[in-house]
């Protein structure tokens, strides 16, 4: 078990390192220089060169890299080339926005998806086919399009939630909930569809297992067979998919945050990408990779807790 944990941790650190190396090299392979970005459009070549010198851009690559790593370990992600703000502080403000949306969307996908998937597997027939087909369509829909449809429906037509914008939790908790409602529902459409498929497949597989027949031969009540034994068996793939889902929703936040004008990580990466704000880009990639890696680690722990075969080996 200890060796297993050590291996997972090593892989996690390796992943973050790989991400840093990749973006670092990417930035240095670019034909624009940070000096040019900081100096702004139309700056003279002397000005750009001076900025580059000031940023340490002309030092050897490995010196810059070890420098960056050293700062990274201390939690320092540098300052923006565009407006000089502290990137670590900026991302720390943005992380809760993206994380809460992805988390709520994952939870909602899990609830709706498990309910639909289990219903499809247990009831079968026409309803089962409807759910299978419906989830096949739902997971193919572009999130930004679904989001606009929901804005039209839930905001413009029904007036339940605001169309765009973000309210701080600290200033108005209810307003906060209402401001993330449509983004969460939008992300949950595709998420629930994927969970429903996984849950349905898992339940179908579970119900054909030999041990289910043993339970039936023991006169076990049907609800117990379905919702205690079969569901428990199907829970491992469902939980794994939920973890993958959280990661995917985290990535999907770029579009959702753009659509609903939410000040999250995704928005930061879009702005950084369009303005070539290199330190901000590297920072976003590092933070996102850390989130993915931590989620994967937690996922491993949860799966181990669920599956006695993993737990006891």
């Amino acid at each position: 078990m200890l060796a297993y944990v050590a291996k997972r941790l090593a892989l996690a650190v390796g992943t973050v390192l790989a991400a840093v190396v990749i973006v670092f090299l990417l930035v240095h392979a670019s034909d624009t220089t940070p000096g040019a970005v900081r100096a702004g459009a139309g700056a003279t070549a002397e000005r750009v060169a001076a900025e580059n010198e000031a940023l340490g851009w002309n030092r050897p690559l490995w010196v810059q890299f070890t420098d960056y790593l050293g700062q990274l370990v201390q939690g320092d992600l540098g300052t923006s080339l565009v407006d000089g703000r502290d990137i670590a502080a900026d991302l720390a403000d943005r992380l809760p926005v993206t994380a809460s949306i992805a988390l709520f969307a994952t939870l909602l996908s899990g609830l709706v998806g498990v309910f639909l998937g289990v219903t499809a597997a247990v009831r079968g027939g026409r309803l089962g086919r409807l759910i299978t087909t419906g989830s096949g369509v739902a997971l193919s829909l572009p999130a930004f399009w679904v989001g606009i449809l929901f804005v039209y429906l839930l905001s413009l037509q029904l007036g339940w939630f605001p169309a765009t914008g973000y309210t701080e939790f600290s200033s108005d908790p209810l307003g906060w909930l209402s401001s993330i409602a449509i983004p969460v529902i939008t992300l949950a459409v595709g998420g629930a569809a994927i969970i429903a498929r996984t849950a349905a497949a898992g339940m179908r597989e579970a119900l054909t297992q030999e041990h289910i027949r043993t339970l039936r031969a023991m006169g076990t009540p049907r609800w117990r067979i379905r919702y205690v034994h079969a569901l428990r068996y199907a829970s491992v793939p469902v939980v794994s998919t939920l973890g993958i889902q959280f990661i995917a929703l985290f990535g999907g936040s770029v579009i959702i945050e753009n659509l609903f004008a939410l000040p999250g990580l995704g928005q930061a990466s879009q702005v950084a990408a369009s303005s070539s704000d290199f330190p901000a880009l590297v920072g976003v990639v590092v933070v996102a990779t850390v989130v993915v890696v931590v989620t994967n680690l937690l996922l491993d722990l949860v799966v181990a807790a669920l599956d006695p075969k993993v737990r006891t080996s």
Partner: protein, 678 residues
Amino acid sequence: MSVIPLDAADEVATEPVPPARRRRGLPGLLRRPGGIFGAAWLTFVIVASLTAPLWRPFEPGQQDTANRLALPSAEHWLGTDPLGRDLLSRIFTAGSLPLLSSALMLVVAFGIGLPLALIAAERGRRVERVISRVTEVFLALPATILLLALIGVIGNRLYPVMAVLGVLISAAVYRVLLGVAQSVRQRLYVDAARVNGLGSLRVNLVHVLPSMATVVAVQAAQLFGIGLLIVAGLAFLGFGPGEPEPSWGFMIQDASGYIYTSPWLMVPTGLVLALTVVAANELADALAGRAAGARGTRRRRRPLRRAVAAAAVPDGTPADPAAVLEVRDLTVSVDDGPDLVTGVSFSLRQGQVLGLVGESGCGKTMTARSLLGLLPDGVSVTGGSIRWQGRELAGLPETELNRIRGREIAMISQEPMVALDPMFSIATQLVGPIRRFREVGRSQAKRIAAELLRNVGIVDAERVLKSYPHQLSGGMAQRVCIALALTGEPQLLVADEPTTALDVTVQAEILSLLRALVRDTGLSVVIVSHDLGVVADICDDVAVMYAGQAVESGTAEAVLDAPAHPYTMALLGANPHVPEGEPVPERLASIAGTVPPPGSWPTGCRFATRCRFAQEKCTVPFPALPAHGAGSVLCIRVDELSREHATWTPERAGDEIQPGAEVLAPADETAPTAGVSS
């Protein structure tokens, strides 16, 4: 960019299909409505987009200022955008970029992932480990944000961006294909090809790749859809071809600004994009054969009129007044399909053991499972009666049966290793039924569980209680299964091949445990086996089953000592167990051919096609004759054979074994056994 994780492709890690069985792939695909739709729409969009410059009614940039934000009309079939540009022309002009760049992504992803998977599967563990670690890192990278970082560095160049995405996705492709490649490589024919000296490249090209074709196609279709969503998503964020060039994502972004005034604007583009992705996924589903996944699992029971009618005949007059279980003319059938068991009768007294013997596919297991009403979906008792302590079980509703299962009749199955729930400890699995059956508290139930385990010969009961099924050996698991079956203190135990999956020494232990239980508790047992040694060891009575019928029944002693039916003789002749004091035969007898599958049983004697003593009269139906006292035998020549002292002796070496009568058609060896095995 999309809500679909890159790992979604993992879901379709379908089994590899050997090349010979793939022939029906295409028609099968087209039988599914989703597959037809997917293929048709994708073809349409691809052709329409690539040829758009040839047919589009307007230039994509051509503005019709009088017709801004128009609804569909004869002139503009899908309406116009805020600048009065024709939506139809713009949508299909925009189509070729996402389609081509997704295709590029696929080429890169498979161009890297496929060879890596083949190499990893071929070169063995060490190489595989290295490649797998690297791909794991790739899989854990946040692809979307990395792509944005790339765009921040190299600018809005969609083709290079999608190629890099292909590199990232190749890790997911590799992971799925590795599993397939490894399992294909384990196939015998690949080994055979290697032994025959085919080079590595040729083995891969000729044998491994074709078997992976389905999985590759499924994955490609799915990833293509994901690629389209990502390209559109990038364009939506403004990282696509800039105005005035049309792009799907930007057209939707544009439409979102007019949602108050012209909601129609977002419909055509969104629908074309959504339909194209749906089409790719539907195609993938149809290829994977998953569209059939929604099969009804609800049990459909045929009304048991026949059963009830048949039960009425011998009502109140059981052949054996001491019998606790009386099965008469039992028929089990596939719904709207062939019969699996016909006219089987036997009875069982308290404290006795009845053996059901025969080859695989003779209906033994179906007969045994019908005693508890535990037939597979789509199979049911369609005739005859099962009387248990004076109660008719055939046709009893599920709720009534549930009251009998475990409490009166319990079952142990063939494979103890999978018969226990892998997710729960043994203690949990025993305590639940004990509390339900014996209405005791948790702590007392735990004591009873430990006692039951000790009763079935488990010494360290406390440790086993804490274990999970995967930590037990086969013999130990079967003991636990027996203990589980005893939690409700049943009077009848149905044991379906309880020793088949176990080692020989463990087999003997389990049999003697069963014998002790019968002796000490007065339990009655119906035991299914293909092993005559088991029958001789433990059974009081035996019913020999062949092709869904009981061909001979009687006391175990009488049937084994003086078999009357040629099939019983043959089974005995083929049995490697030698009774003490008899010489070991040099050769064992064999029975030519195989058991005919349900639905293709001959009229008359069903064994006639394989019987050495078959004659023309064996092909007409005839009734069972009394034999062995209370037993019966189903052979028209039984008297002649007994006069002739017929035996089923081993053939001499080199002899071709000829089934008897020339009038009979040879057994059909190729037909499948209708998916139901005994």
